[in-house]
């Protein structure tokens, strides 16, 4: 895919820039748009955004690598995030992580060969009242158990 934003995305970026007194402040928002479009933040994307926002590429790379939610490699169509922090651990979050790991036959931050699923053991996602929980892409699934996870995964295509 050509690394380029379309007219609509560029407009969205202008709108983000208008929120802040400096161009650099728009970086995180622009990276979110880039991840939505390109799926992950490659070196080419870093160079493109650096050019767009008049920033040194090293700065953009530094920001990308600091924040865990920007993908540094292509991830699956469905990115499964399993929380194993304390509240979820107390309710079986670890078992769910191992279940998904075994079912998909991939490890933490790995992608299935068909590119459909990727798995991440995440830190607290702020849904402790619904522990254990997983998130798939942007959606939360709370009060789950192994059976429910299996059903959810089977429904994804």
């Amino acid at each position: 895919m050509e690394i380029k934003f379309n007219e609509q995305e560029l407009q969205e970026i202008e709108q983000i820039k208008s929120k802040y007194p400096t161009e650099q402040s728009a970086l995180m928002g622009v990276l979110w748009i880039a991840q939505r479009k390109f799926g992950w933040i490659s070196n080419d994307v870093i160079l493109y955004i650096a050019d767009l926002l008049h920033l040194p590429p090293a700065h953009v790379e530094g920001v990308v690598k600091f924040y865990t939610m920007y993908f540094k490699k292509p991830m699956g169509k469905y990115h499964i995030q399993v929380c194993t922090n304390v509240s979820c651990m107390l309710r079986g979050g670890e078992q769910i992580f191992h279940f998904v790991k075994d079912k998909l036959k991939i490890g933490n931050m790995e992608v299935t060969p068909d590119g459909k699923f990727s798995l991440e053991e995440v830190e607290c996602m702020g849904a402790c009242g619904g522990a254990p929980m997983i998130a798939i892409n942007e959606d939360y699934y709370e009060n789950i158990n192994i059976e429910k996870v299996e059903q959810i995964l089977n429904k994804l295509d």
Partner: protein
């Protein structure tokens, strides 16, 4: 327990997130009232209410507002902290979802009191859905003329401000106020050295106040019922209601708005219907994973306000109560907490960057029963050497729970220590060298 208190932050009103419902229930009316006062009068009312920050430190909000310089020679900013990454904390999410307009109205009141140009609501990246909900509420408020340049016509007053959402991207440290500001500015989320404090040198070098989402949402409610009435709710030195997020081994986990000073026992057994499967409690973390735990005996007497908990050696934090039953492996929990802080340390300060890793390694050894009797003291020593030696509070947040668990539940840890030779006298000098042999004092 006196259940007769007003729900100030999350009232039981259906569909309150809808702007029309909010307006029908007196929404944006408080802002209309307070602009008849001078900004100083507004700040004084907040000061009088003794409202304290809900983000963890419990700093008096009104006092914080007075730190802002007067005059308009520089733009001033409000940063509203909704990063909410503290494990065990999930309260701000309820505000974004169920009462976003009260947060907006609170921002307007704070903005007027301090003469803010704009406010940035920092919401953690994982909250995709809640970022959208909050943005929708802001868009609605803009279109009704409650925010932005139209405020002049709506409220008949010269003051205007803008409100924006800034979405994070997965960094616990961005809940720290200076790190949050760096993140908004498009830097890596490194905490800044203080001083200068945000009120002097904040966002883009301009005077800035950082308040928690729940703190700001309390503000319109204070004006609605008056500071005098607010003071009558909950604990004297920490008044009002708190959003308690209860999780772990509990029958009814969730967010509950209750007066400060509510007995912890009451929350666990009455509000949340007791411990899962009728088991006994082993430990409870009262305010998010950074706070030292309470033992079962302490849970019996603990009152949930900052000063009462401080006397017991812990803190109210974010009000995230994590309940652990009698079968919980506390070594494993401590190791998981240590892993979290190791993962989230930004890496600027050596004691935190290295120390959090060492703590995790030692705890891993203990968990695998590979540790020696010296490891426990080494663990506490590492924790002590992180505390207070870092730019921000993440170091303390990593040290407190580890030291708390080891001190209060030492026998659980000792059980995992592999039996070793009985030392007559430890070789202190070479104690940390694997090759050091034990000094044995003999009678001469």
């Amino acid at each position: 327990m006196n259940m007769n208190f007003p729900k100030l932050v999350l009232p039981d009103i259906v569909d309150l997130s809808n702007i029309d419902v909010y307006i029908a229930n007196g929404g944006y009316e408080m802002y209309r009232q307070i602009i008849k006062l001078t900004p100083d009068e507004v700040t004084n009312e907040v000061k009088k209410s003794r409202l304290r920050g809900r983000g963890g430190a419990g700093f008096p909000t009104g006092l914080k507002w007075t730190f802002m310089p007067k005059g308009n020679d520089k733009p001033k900013y409000l940063a509203v902290n909704g990063d909410e990454s503290e494990p065990g904390s999930f309260k701000d999410r309820q505000i974004f979802e169920h009462n976003p307009h009260q947060l907006i109205e609170g921002i307007l009141i704070a903005g007027y009191a301090m003469g803010m140009k704009a406010a940035y609501i920092y919401i953690r990246g994982e909250y995709h859905r809640w970022v959208k909900l909050m943005q929708k509420a802001i868009d609605d408020a803009y279109s009704r003329g409650f925010i932005g340049t139209k405020m002049k016509d709506t409220f008949g007053n010269e003051y205007t401000m803008d409100i924006y959402v800034h979405k994070g991207a997965g960094a616990y440290i961005c809940g720290e106020e200076t790190s949050l500001m760096n993140s908004i500015e498009g830097w890596r989320g490194y905490p800044r050295y203080k001083p200068p404090f945000p009120a002097q040198f904040g966002l883009w070098g301009m005077p800035t106040t950082v308040n928690n989402v729940e703190t700001i949402t309390n503000v319109p409610a204070i004006f609605k019922i008056t500071a005098d009435e607010y003071l009558k709710i909950g604990a004297t030195t920490h008044p009002g209601t708190l959003l308690f997020g209860v999780s772990g081994h509990i029958n009814k986990p969730g967010v509950y708005e209750l007066p400060t000073g509510t007995p912890l026992k009451e929350i666990i057994y009455n509000v949340c219907d007791g411990v899962l499967n009728g088991k006994k409690i082993k430990a409870v973390i009262p305010g998010g994973s950074s706070m030292p735990p309470l033992t079962a005996e302490e849970v019996e007497v603990a009152l949930m306000d900052e000063d009462s908990l401080a006397k017991m050696g812990t803190h109210i934090g974010t009000g995230g109560i994590m309940v652990m039953d009698e079968d919980t492996d506390l070594v494993k929990i401590t190791k998981r907490i240590a892993h979290f802080y190791h993962h989230e340390s930004c890496g600027q300060c050596t004691p935190c960057r290295e120390g959090t890793g060492w703590m995790e390694k030692i705890l891993d050894r203990i968990l695998k029963s590979e540790a020696t009797s010296k490891d426990l003291d080494l663990l506490v020593s590492v924790a002590n050497n992180i505390e207070g030696r870092t730019i921000c509070a993440l170091g303390d947040a990593a040290a407190w729970p580890v030291r708390g668990f080891v001190t209060k539940f030492r026998d659980e840890f000792e059980k995992r220590i592999k039996p070793d030779h009985s030392f007559v006298a430890p070789n202190v000098v070479h104690g940390r060298r694997n090759t050091a042999s034990t000094l044995v004092f003999k009678e001469i």
